[in-house]
């Protein structure tokens, strides 16, 4: 269905259409979750739902540091059902996303989707043991980590030491309640970022995405 809508590319591969954001469908005609597909000027887009994807939420709330490029190599920890992965796959057309997930259950939904997309490399493994996927990745430009674990900061650090290039970026979705059920969220965020500073990370930007995901923060860090 063609419509007269203004499409504005706010980041490479990320489009703003009206109040919503979308990515260009790498596999036209295919829906991944229940997102809306729509066509403008014969190009099919997939709407990127901020309630389903934390990265989308961050973008909607003003994220400035979007370093994903068409040919990036991304290590994605916590791929789950592949919602955010699918949009990164739309964006990184000539790159590679190594999608690591620990639980086989959501991965079942992810595999058929990944099959159709040449830029997704699916890995079923525990992110605490990065050596188990050393065969599938050389060096990553970006690590995206979204796992609800108490030791997520150390998991990020470990994977960064293994795989993240010098000057690479990390996108860290912090779920406060996974770290501590009682402490105030802000305290938790501060502590996590401190931990990472000690591991060689520099905070570039942080966006509180509470509006879309209660007590969540998206932090963008640079690895030295």
């Amino acid at each position: 269905m063609s419509e007269e809508r203004k499409v504005e590319e706010i980041f490479p591969g990320v489009y703003k259409i009206g109040q919503k954001i979308a990515t260009r469908n790498l596999v036209p005609g295919q829906r991944v979750y229940k997102e809306t597909l729509f066509t403008v000027d014969r190009v099919e887009y997939r709407s990127w739902e901020p309630r389903k994807s934390k990265l989308a939420a961050a973008i909607m709330l003003g994220l400035k540091s979007f370093t994903f490029a068409k040919n990036s190599t991304v290590l994605y920890l916590g791929a789950a059902s592949g919602t955010t992965v699918s949009h990164l796959s739309d964006i990184i057309t000539d790159g590679m996303i190594v999608a690591v997930e620990f639980s086989p259950r959501p991965y079942r939904d992810m595999l058929p989707m990944a099959e159709k997309r040449p830029n997704i490399v699916p890995v079923l493994a525990d992110a605490r043991l990065p050596h188990r996927y050393r065969m599938f990745l050389g060096v990553a430009d970006i690590i995206y980590i979204d796992i609800a674990q108490a030791d997520q900061a150390s998991i990020l650090a470990k994977n960064a030491h293994y795989y993240l290039k010098k000057g690479g970026y990390a996108y860290f979705a912090i779920k406060a309640r996974s770290i501590d059920p009682v402490k105030p969220a802000d305290t938790i965020y501060k502590e996590q970022l401190n931990l990472l500073r000690k591991e060689g990370f520099e905070l570039v930007e942080s966006i509180d995405i509470d509006k879309y995901e209660k007590e969540h923060l998206m932090a963008v860090l640079k690895y030295e």
């Binding site: 086989p104 099959e115 040449p118 490399v121 699916p122 079923l124 050393r134 050389g138 060096v139 290039k165």
Partner: protein
């Protein structure tokens, strides 16, 4: 000093000057065995070609018989970059990505089936545990009630349900009962009054406190056993839905778990024909029919499915057959980590069941009076 870089394609050896010194290709099976770390089996050949100290990314998974050390975090990064750059230059990025993806996908498939394999056998074992719980609970409850009979013999006739009776025994003597307490236990008012009447006029002996305490504890243990059994049943249901969503949707999670238990795993169940699934659990009857002149069983454990046991006798065989057919398909889809097809299967099943339900009952064949049949009519008396 040579750095060992493992890739989807094979093993690379890189020296300190970032030059690739050697390479050995491997297949997915060898790669899978190397996941936890290098070993003589996976890396032996290439490592013995050189006489250097090796730097590994991770501790060897087995005997390695070479000089080695483990890299500092990040030490291998540049070496890995060199190798991948080389691969990309040689084959082009698309090709490298494609092959990498292929290997990783295959590994993921294998990991997934390992993950589910153990799980489905556990569900089977849990299912058996539940059966054992039931047997144990019944025997235990009966004995406890027998003991309590010395004190309150009338209770057995009034309260048939073991769990209800055990609640009373756990509480204590018949003298300690009153209407509120009984109602709290879940007895409806009329029943509670009946129990109280019997309790006050009981011909049973008073119970010594020590005896009551000990028996009361037994009752509590039995009740805990029942609760544990129910929890396990809930867990089994959840798990059955996770690992075999299609089968659970059609058979119900409990029956699905039982089928997996009898078959000895989801994979085994998936390999069975529909006719076998139809009689799973009726092995004794099956044996007797094959080796004698008895009629074959129409259904095994799938009798527990409401469609089968809820149907009139002459329809059960046909329904069991139709159900087993769909269960076989469901099991196969689930075993091969497939999609959710239960809706379509149920639709087809139900339309077949509707057809079956329309069939009239068969006419009774007139009984041919034969001498043999006569003799079977025992009407008391001797012999």
């Amino acid at each position: 000093m040579l750095y060992v870089v493992d890739t989807y394609k094979g093993i690379f050896l890189v020296n300190e000057k970032n030059e690739i010194v050697d390479f050995e290709e491997w297949d997915i099976d060898r790669m899978e065995r190397a996941i936890d770390g290098p070993s003589a089996e996976t890396h032996g050949d290439i490592l013995h070609r050189h006489n250097e100290e090796y730097v590994f990314e991770i501790l060897p998974a087995g005997d390695i018989e070479v000089n080695y050390r483990i890299a500092d975090p990040g030490e291998l990064k540049s070496k890995r970059a060199v190798v991948w750059r080389y691969l990309i230059e040689k084959k082009g990025f698309s090709r490298v990505r494609e092959e990498n993806k292929k290997h990783a996908t295959e590994m993921t498939r294998r990991e997934m089936s390992h993950a589910f394999e153990a799980r489905d056998r556990l569900i089977g074992a849990f299912s058996d545990l539940i059966s054992q719980h039931d047997k144990t609970f019944n025997a235990f409850a009966m004995k406890i009630r027998e003991c309590y009979t010395f004190h309150f013999p009338e209770l057995d006739k009034i309260v048939a349900d073991h769990q209800a009776a055990l609640k009373i025994i756990a509480h204590g003597t018949r003298e300690s009962l009153n209407l509120d307490i009984l109602q709290e236990m879940g007895f409806p008012e009329e029943k509670a009054r009946e129990i109280l009447r019997a309790a006050t006029s009981s011909i049973g002996a008073p119970f010594n406190k020590k005896d009551m305490d000990v028996l009361s504890m037994s009752a509590r243990v039995a009740l805990a056993l029942k609760e544990n059994r129910d929890e396990i049943a809930r867990r089994v249901e959840e798990a059955a839905q996770e690992i075999a969503p299609n089968l659970s949707a059609i058979a119900g999670p409990t029956l699905a778990a039982r089928l997996i238990a009898i078959a000895g795993g989801l994979k085994r169940l998936a390999r069975m024909s529909a006719s076998k699934i139809q009689v799973l659990g009726a092995e004794k009857a099956l044996f007797l029919s094959l080796h004698g002149s008895k009629k074959p069983p129409k259904h095994g454990i799938i009798f527990q499915h409401p469609l089968v046991h809820g149907a009139p006798a002459w329809q059960r065989g046909k329904i069991a057959r139709a159900l087993a057919g769909k269960l076989a398909i469901a099991a196969r889809v689930d075993a091969n980590s497939g999609t959710y097809v239960a809706d379509k299967l149920l639709e087809k099943l139900m339309s077949r069941v509707e057809e079956i339900r329309k069939l009239p009952p068969p006419k009774k064949k007139p009984k041919i009076k034969s001498r043999k049949k006569r003799k079977k009519k025992k009407r008391g008396g001797r012999k």
